[in-house]
C-alpha cells in the first residue's frame, strides 16, 4: 500500500516535470506544427488526389506517385540537380575552406576586411543577386563583352544552352561561398592555439598544420556545410527562375524539380500533382541527406 502510494507520488512528480517541459516547448511546438507538420500532412493528403478539368478532383491513391516515377520532366530535372550538386558542392566548399584557412593565417586588418567582402554576397538577397548577374551576363549590356574584347577574344555566351550550367554554378558559388567560409572560419577560431604552438615546436610547417590539425578539427563543420549545400542544391529554384526571365528557351519551366512543382501548381493548374512532385523531391532530399550522414557518421558529430 505504502509502496504504491510512493510510486504514485513519484509518477505525479514526473508528470509535473513533463508538463513544464511541454509548456516551455509549446511556443516552438505550435509554430512547428502549424507551419511545418500540418502543411506537410496536407501536401501528402493532396498528393493522393487527382484533378482533371473534365472530372474534377478524385481520390487516386498512389497513382500520382506512379506517374512521378515515369515522368520524364521530373526525371530530367532531378538528374540535372544531382549534376549541379556533384559540381557545385565541392567547388563551394573547397573555396570556402581554402579562404577560411587563408584568413585564419593572416590575423591582420586585411583579413577582417576580406572576410566582410567575401561574406557580402550572402547578405544580398538571392533574387537581387540573380537579377544582377542576369544583367552582367547580357551580351549587349553586361561588362564581359568589353572585358573579353580587351584581350581580343569573344565573351562566352553565358545565357545559351551550353553556357547556362556554368553561369548558374557561378551565381550560386558567388552567393554562398562567403557563408560557408564564415562557418568554417569560426570553427577554426575555436581551435586552441596551444595545438599549433606544440606542432611548431615539433617542427611542423604551416601547410602541415593546416592539413593535419586544422582541417581534421573542423571536419564536423565541414560536413554540416556539405549537408546545407546538398539540400540547397537539390532544391535549386531561385536563381534559374530569375534567369528564366532573360532566357526562357534555355531554362524551361521544368528545369529543376522545384521549378516543375511551381509550374504545375501555378501554370498548369495541377495542384495535386504538384504536391506529389514536391513530396517526392522532399523524400529524395531526406534520403540523400541520410545517406550522406551515414557515410560520414564517424566524423560529423551528429550521430550517437
Amino acid at each position: 500500500m505504502n509502496q504504491t502510494k510512493a510510486l504514485r507520488g513519484k509518477r505525479k512528480h514526473y508528470g509535473k516535470e513533463n508538463l513544464w517541459g511541454w509548456i516551455f516547448t509549446a511556443p516552438f511546438a505550435v509554430v512547428f506544427v502549424v507551419f511545418l507538420v500540418i502543411p506537410l500532412v496536407y501536401a501528402f493528403y493532396m498528393s493522393l488526389f487527382t484533378y482533371t478539368q473534365i472530372s474534377g478532383e478524385r481520390f487516386s491513391g498512389i497513382a500520382n506517385y506512379v506517374r512521378v516515377l515515369t515522368d520524364e520532366a521530373f526525371g530530367k530535372g532531378l538528374l540535372l540537380v544531382v549534376l549541379y550538386t556533384i559540381v557545385m558542392v565541392p567547388i563551394q566548399l573547397g573555396l570556402a575552406l581554402g579562404l577560411a584557412l587563408l584568413l585564419d593565417s593572416f590575423k591582420k586588418k586585411f583579413a577582417s576586411v576580406s572576410r566582410v567582402v567575401i561574406f557580402l554576397p550572402y547578405a544580398i538577397p538571392a533574387v537581387i543577386g540573380a537579377l544582377m548577374w542576369g544583367f552582367m551576363y547580357s551580351k549587349l549590356m553586361g561588362p564581359f563583352t568589353t572585358i573579353f574584347s580587351l584581350f581580343g577574344v569573344q565573351a562566352p555566351d553565358f545565357l545559351s544552352s551550353n553556357g547556362i550550367f556554368g553561369s548558374l554554378v557561378n551565381v550560386v558559388t558567388w552567393q554562398w561561398t562567403g557563408y560557408y567560409m564564415i562557418i568554417l572560419y569560426s570553427a577554426l577560431q575555436s581551435i586552441p592555439t596551444e595545438l599549433y604552438e606544440s606542432a611548431r615546436i615539433d617542427g611542423a610547417s604551416e601547410l602541415k598544420i593546416a592539413t593535419r590539425i586544422k582541417i581534421p578539427l573542423v571536419t564536423g563543420s565541414l560536413i554540416m556545410c556539405t549537408i546545407f549545400s546538398l539540400i540547397g542544391t537539390l532544391q535549386f529554384f531561385t536563381e534559374p527562375t530569375i534567369l528564366r526571365n532573360q532566357a526562357p528557351t534555355v531554362i524551361p519551366s521544368e528545369y529543376t524539380p522545384n521549378m516543375y512543382a511551381q509550374a504545375l501548381a501555378f501554370g498548369y493548374n495541377q495542384t495535386n500533382y504538384s504536391a506529389t512532385v514536391s513530396f517526392s523531391l522532399g523524400l529524395i532530399v531526406v534520403i540523400f541527406s541520410i545517406i550522406f550522414m551515414r557515410l560520414t557518421r564517424r566524423s560529423n558529430g551528429l550521430g550517437d
Binding site: V37, I38, V41, Y42, Y45, T52, Q53, I54, S55, G56, F135, S138, K139, L140, M141, L159, N245, Q246, A247, P248, T249, V250, P252, S253, A263, F266, G267, Y268, N269, T271
Partner: protein, 464 residues
C-alpha cells in the same frame, strides 16, 4: 519512446482526418454557372477607384487595361443606379492564377474579369463552367457591334452562348524599319517570298542587322503565322466541352516552320528570346529591319525602345502573305467575362457590356489605353482611320490595321493553353534554332499535347 511516437502519429492522423473532412465540405461548382441576385453583397467591397454614388449597387471588376481608371470614372459618373468597383487583379497569367485560386476557395472572385481570348477555354472546359453564358442575358442582340473574329473568339463555335464581351484585338501586321529600307533601297516585301529576298538583298548591300527576329519564346505569334497558311492547330468548342482537337502534323504548319528554319540557316534572321533585354536593345538600335507582330507591339515595345517619337524609324505595313488566299490573322486581345461567383449576375452582365459601350469609353480606350478596338462602328469612323501615330512618323496606321481587324475570322485555343505554349516553344525552338527535322518535331509535339489532353480527361478529336 515508443509511446511518444505513437502519440505523435495519433495527432497527425487526427489532423489528417480533420483536413479531409474540411476538403469534403468544399463546395464543387455546379455544371453550369448559376445566376445570383444579391444586390448588396458588394456593399463593403474595397475599390481602387472612387465610387461616386455611395448608395448605389456595386459591381466588382478586375482589369489591367491601360487608362482603365478613366473608363471606370466615366461609367460611375454616368450611372446612378450601379457603380463599378475596380481593382487590378494582375496582368495576364498572374490574374488567371488568382482567379483559379478563388475558384478553389469558392469565393473571392470579382463579378467581372478581364480575360485574354486564349485564356478563356480553361475556365469553361469540362463539366465546370466558371464563366456565365451572356447569351442568356441578351448579349446575342449586340453581335453586329463587334468584328467577326472577336465575336467568334468569345462564342467558341456556339450559336447561342456568349462567354465574354469583346474589347480589344491584335491584328497581325509588319513593323518596318523605314530608314533601313530607304537607305539600302530595298522594296518593302508584301509576300513571304519577297520577305526572304529582301533579307538577302539587305545583306548583299551591306546591312549588318538582321531581317527580323523569329522569337524562340513566341506563343500566339506562331498560331497567327500558321493561321495565315490556313492551318488551325487547336480546336475547342464550348458546346462539346469534353473534346479538344490538336494537330501540328499538317502541311501548313510544316511549311511555316520549314520557312523559318531555312531563313535561320541562311543567317538572315535572329532567333533570340523576345523577353531578353538584349533583344529589345537590338530592336531599339535598328538591328532588325522588320518585326512581324500584332498591332499592340507599338504600345508595348516601340514606345519602350525609343526615347522620343521622332527617334522611331518604324512604320506599319500589311503582314507578308503567302498568296492571294492568305487570310487576315490576329495575335492576342481580351474581353470582359462575368464569373460564376458574380453577386448579381444580371447587373454584372449589363455592366460588362456597357463599360466600353459608348463613344467616349471606346475613344478613350483607343487614345488613352492604346487598345486596338473590336467595335465595328469605331473601326469604320473617319476619325479613327485618320488618326496619326507619332511613333510611326505620323502614319495613319489604322488605314492598314483596320481592314486586318475586320477580316480576321477568329482563332481557337485549348483549355490548357499555358502547357501547350510551353510545349510549343520547346519544339519550335529546337526546329528553327537547332535544326531538328520539321516532320519529327511536329509529330512529337502533337503526340505530347494529345497525351496531356487524354491525361486531363479530354477526348481527342480531329481539328477539322
Amino acid at each position: 519512446m515508443m509511446l511518444k511516437s505513437k502519440k505523435i502519429f495519433a495527432v497527425l492522423a487526427a489532423v489528417a482526418a480533420s483536413l479531409s473532412l474540411a476538403a469534403c465540405g468544399g463546395s464543387n461548382a455546379s455544371d453550369t454557372a448559376t445566376a445570383n441576385s444579391d444586390k448588396h453583397a458588394n456593399d463593403n467591397a474595397s475599390c481602387t477607384n472612387k465610387v461616386v454614388h455611395a448608395d448605389a449597387q456595386k459591381v466588382t471588376v478586375w482589369a489591367w487595361y491601360p487608362g482603365f481608371e478613366k473608363i471606370v470614372d466615366h461609367f460611375n459618373n454616368s450611372h446612378s443606379d450601379v457603380q463599378v468597383c475596380w481593382n487590378n487583379g494582375g496582368q495576364g497569367g498572374a490574374e488567371y492564377t488568382r482567379f483559379q485560386n478563388t475558384i478553389k476557395a469558392g469565393k473571392g472572385a470579382p463579378d467581372i474579369i478581364q480575360l485574354e481570348y486564349e485564356a478563356m477555354p480553361q475556365f469553361i472546359a469540362g463539366q465546370q463552367k466558371y464563366l456565365v453564358d451572356l447569351g442568356k442575358y441578351g448579349m446575342n442582340s449586340y453581335k453586329a457591334d463587334y468584328t467577326d473574329g472577336a465575336w467568334n473568339s468569345v462564342t467558341f463555335g456556339s450559336s447561342s452562348s456568349v462567354y465574354a464581351v469583346p474589347v480589344d484585338a491584335g491584328p497581325f501586321v509588319m513593323y518596318v524599319n523605314q530608314e533601313v529600307f530607304d537607305k539600302y533601297q530595298v522594296k518593302v516585301p508584301t509576300t513571304w517570298a519577297e520577305f526572304e529576298q529582301a533579307g538577302k538583298d539587305l545583306q548583299a548591300k551591306g546591312y549588318t542587322g538582321k531581317l527580323t527576329n523569329w522569337q524562340t519564346d513566341g506563343t500566339a505569334v506562331n498560331i497567327a503565322l500558321f493561321a495565315q497558311k490556313g492551318a488551325q492547330v487547336y480546336k475547342y468548342s464550348a458546346s462539346d466541352p469534353t473534346k479538344v482537337g490538336i494537330d501540328f502534323d499538317q502541311q501548313g504548319v510544316k511549311d511555316v516552320l520549314s520557312y523559318w528554319q531555312k531563313l535561320s540557316k541562311e543567317g538572315l534572321i535572329d532567333t533570340a528570346d523576345q523577353s531578353s533585354t538584349d533583344t529589345m536593345k537590338k530592336f531599339g538600335a535598328g538591328d532588325y529591319a522588320t518585326y512581324v507582330q500584332a498591332s499592340w507591339f507599338m504600345g508595348y515595345y516601340v514606345k519602350g525602345a525609343y526615347k522620343t517619337a521622332a527617334d522611331s524609324p518604324f512604320k506599319i505595313y500589311e503582314a507578308p502573305k503567302w498568296d492571294d488566299s492568305t487570310p487576315d490573322v490576329n495575335q492576342g486581345g481580351s474581353a470582359f467575362a462575368v464569373t460564376y461567383q458574380a453577386k448579381d449576375t444580371k447587373a454584372a452582365a449589363e455592366v460588362a457590356r456597357e463599360l466600353y459601350g459608348d463613344d467616349y469609353a471606346q475613344k478613350s480606350g483607343v487614345s488613352d489605353g492604346g487598345l486596338f478596338p473590336t467595335w465595328k462602328k469605331l473601326l469604320s469612323s473617319t476619325e479613327f482611320i485618320n488618326q496619326t501615330y507619332p511613333y510611326l512618323g505620323d502614319q495613319k496606321a489604322n488605314e492598314v490595321i483596320a481592314p486586318v481587324a475586320k477580316g480576321w475570322a477568329g482563332d481557337q485555343f485549348l483549355p490548357f493553353q499555358t502547357y501547350a505554349y510551353d510545349a510549343q516553344q520547346k519544339s519550335f525552338a529546337s526546329i528553327v534554332k537547332s535544326g531538328t527535322s520539321v516532320d519529327s518535331g511536329v509529330s512529337k509535339l502533337t503526340s505530347t499535347l494529345q497525351d496531356y489532353a487524354k491525361q486531363q480527361g479530354f477526348t481527342v478529336e480531329s481539328v477539322k
